[in-house]
Symmetry: C2
Subunit: 378 residues, 2 copies
Amino acid sequence: MTSTLYTIDTPAAVIDLPRAMKNIARMQDRMNALGVAFRPHVKTSKCEQVVRAQLDAGAQGITVSTLKEAERFFASGITDILYAVGMAPHRLPQALALRRRGCALTIITDSVGSAMEIAGFGRSHGERLPVLVEVDTDGHRSGLDPYGDELLKVASVLHEGGMELKGVMTHAGSSYELNTPEALSALAEQERAGCVAAAERLRAAGLPCPVVSVGSTPTALSARELRGVTEVRAGVYVFFDLVMHNVGVCAMHDIALGVLTTVIGHQREKGWAIVDAGWMAMSRDAGTAKQQRDYKYGQVCGVDGAPMAGYLLGGANQEHGIVVREGDADTDIVARFPIGTRLRILPNHACATGAQFEKYQALSADGSLREWSRFHGW
Amino acid sequence: MTSTLYTIDTPAAVIDLPRAMKNIARMQDRMNALGVAFRPHVKTSKCEQVVRAQLDAGAQGITVSTLKEAERFFASGITDILYAVGMAPHRLPQALALRRRGCALTIITDSVGSAMEIAGFGRSHGERLPVLVEVDTDGHRSGLDPYGDELLKVASVLHEGGMELKGVMTHAGSSYELNTPEALSALAEQERAGCVAAAERLRAAGLPCPVVSVGSTPTALSARELRGVTEVRAGVYVFFDLVMHNVGVCAMHDIALGVLTTVIGHQREKGWAIVDAGWMAMSRDAGTAKQQRDYKYGQVCGVDGAPMAGYLLGGANQEHGIVVREGDADTDIVARFPIGTRLRILPNHACATGAQFEKYQALSADGSLREWSRFHGW
């Protein structure tokens, strides 16, 4: 029997393939037009088939958030990998082992202390480790001031310590907090300008800086030009989600990840339908709660993926979700969604929701499904 | 080389075994004193060794939130299993298959429609399925009014349909919203009284009702007496967490699950230490945000598990956490937590945090570690 959305077990993480392929093409086309290489962040999908589609579309290498991702994707034949989380010294042996097996792994740092650990480790093992220096262009997390002294110090420690100083990278993660094209374009320019300035300071100091790497999904989709940038990184664009919809970089019908769920009960007086997608399926991400439109735990859609206006996953326990109508209780909820009814819930945050599942159900335009495995953990 | 908290990779989910064993003994002793059977909910740990310790302490059977849990624990030799989520009709074949392999699986329902599906399926397969009817004693989620007509209808459909009507069950999940012993004891009594009343109504109608099953961690630890109850279910007590600490049913030093993390960077001016436990490790659960004490993404402890007053995991991205001091920024953060420093973070919600990991590191009193695998997914 062929699997369909009506026969598979629930909850299930469904990838709407036509939407995902459109998202992949949209980003790659944009990067091609802007004249930069694109290095997708695979932390969103952690799925070989999804990443293969990104590479087939023209991506050059991948970005990972854990060395486990590096291990898995290297095992699947991908060699050009950027590990974009500040290098913890205790992970250097694992990074070295990957490189010795043929993985062109690049690591990052944003401190003199860490740079010294990297250089010391690399020298003592006869390995010229490729390193990017992380700069902070929006104050949201890690990275060095592109205009500060420490940037040059860190770069010098790496270069003089015999490592391969590849350049600079930044991630304007505060773009998730914006919601107008003007603000997004301005932040994209700030991200570009800060990272390019850091690169120019390195070059002015006689240091190599071939790579200038920037990106987040919102800024990648909002940059007007990327002069001086060599590559862009983005992750969640492949699926999009309700947070990205609120940010304004995708339409609701671009969201390619949904959780298929089954109605298992009701509270008629309250207008509740109880479904088998709780927070274990959706994740606890409430990313839209602080945005202009709060979708609670997700937007309810029919099995066909069409949003049902006003119906949200209003609450979630571990394996129970509560479907509600906003505003007034739907007293016809039992007739509307009888036990056994299947729904698709669009998530707040695709990276978090996907991570709750061991596999995706990849849905083709003809309604057929294929199981695509994904991994989790470290 | 023996693994220690200083040598294993991070992030890691550490179970403090002396604490967990004390939590297990505390609950079992309480249930023994109250004269009821105890059926732990294994959705918290999804770990064979943890559940074995619960059974060794005196638990009688287990509660599961998914049929995958039933499959896994049945494979490990446990036969007495209650699947405590309303039965979706499409899952009946899987439940039947488990029973045919020797699993004494009990299922639940809270609607006439679902009860008819169960009875029809059972009859057509010649299987007298054991079923509990779920009642709602606090309005927080699923279940029938213990005083309403539907309760008797559902029970009759099952009994007259040839199924094994085992009794009634309830879960006062709204106990998570309380924080005084008085309110908790009152809710425990409400949970007991409502469920016992439902049982008495069934019996008065000539229906069998041998099982009266109640429970949640806060009510189980707060009930003054459990007259008429035959068994109690609870899950999170095995590890406890910051939400339970705010509810008032455990001390901070009872929390047995922590996430071991490594400092990977800083933002000195802001007083931030960046660690490698982001929301992928902690989960996105912000359960304490609406309680009297908001721990953000978790309470920071030393490697020894001792809380560091005022230090919280203030923010989290996928693989980055931001350790902050509440109130004023800690301008000595770089010296206090140098790169490579290891910390343990107590989580808001142990069920959600544990689910982010493929394995636990079970820490004995002597500092030695054992890997205990856990599963996820459906």
